[in-house]
Subunit: 150 residues, 2 copies
Amino acid sequence: MRIGELSERTNTSRRLLRYYEEQQLIVSTRSANGYREYDERLADRVMQIRGLLDAGLPTRIIKQILPCLDKPRTIHFSDATPEMIATLTLERDRMTERINCLIRNRDAVADYLEAVSGTGDPEVVVARAGSGTGDPEVVIARAGTGAATA
Amino acid sequence: MRIGELSERTNTSRRLLRYYEEQQLIVSTRSANGYREYDERLADRVMQIRGLLDAGLPTRIIKQILPCLDKPRTIHFSDATPEMIATLTLERDRMTERINCLIRNRDAVADYLEAVSGTGDPEVVVARAGSGTGDPEVVIARAGTGAATA
DNA sequence: TGAAACCCTCACATATATGTGAGGGTCAAC
DNA sequence: GTTGACCCTCACATATATGTGAGGGTTTCA
């Protein structure tokens, strides 16, 4: 697909798609006329990038994280230098901190909303945690706690 | 306490503390000589601000979220205009999205690390979720999944 | 009295992710 | 063959969070 389609599918400006490529977060081939040609799978990747950027990670870090997400992981094992491992470990922990911070504050906001408006549409929040050696882990779901929605 | 102490306690440059004040995220009184004087509690607040900034929230939004965190919440009920509620609801949901995105990616990174280095120090991750009408909710904790730490 | 360690304001500089637009090709349809 | 919708590169602009430093007070302590 070309840049216009990817742009629409991911709701991301063409300018940004070119920027992500410049930052080596995505790749493209060029067709004869010089137009960028994108793989289907890139749509997902772009969404991932946007999410991470929105969560405060700089492109420099995202670039290092993205390979961890590829399906046939075996290919990337070779890149696993000690420095890379160290970086990823650090970033993993920073992400966990961010998560905890966001959860704390999100919950505070949610509490406030429920307190102030009776029922701030009690939402189902699902969070997959863990990710050990493969076993599917705990899933938590919070349902409304008594106060019925209008 | 004065700005120097707050700066050290929160590991935040004086420049940034003044900036946060300018953005109305924190307040200070002035002593006779014009020096800023800070309340003890501000140290926590500054940490909170830094966490949220790091998680991608702009000061404009943080300013609206912070009042939700104050203990005697009753005081702030008056500010609860419909627009404010709408903003907070939106931001709560955006935070949840961020959380889910971060969890997904953090777990992917963690998986990668465990796969590549045997045991990437299996960490305990605690996440308080929910936050309903007061009842303490589910707590998930992931322990090492077999592979013992060195 | 002078040096050191604080504090103040103001202004300019930087990095990062983005927007906008100029100047110019390609291609399909009419 | 011209028009409209694409695409390209390049460059400049903007917002936000930060750093840096100048120019200048205050307090403390020798």
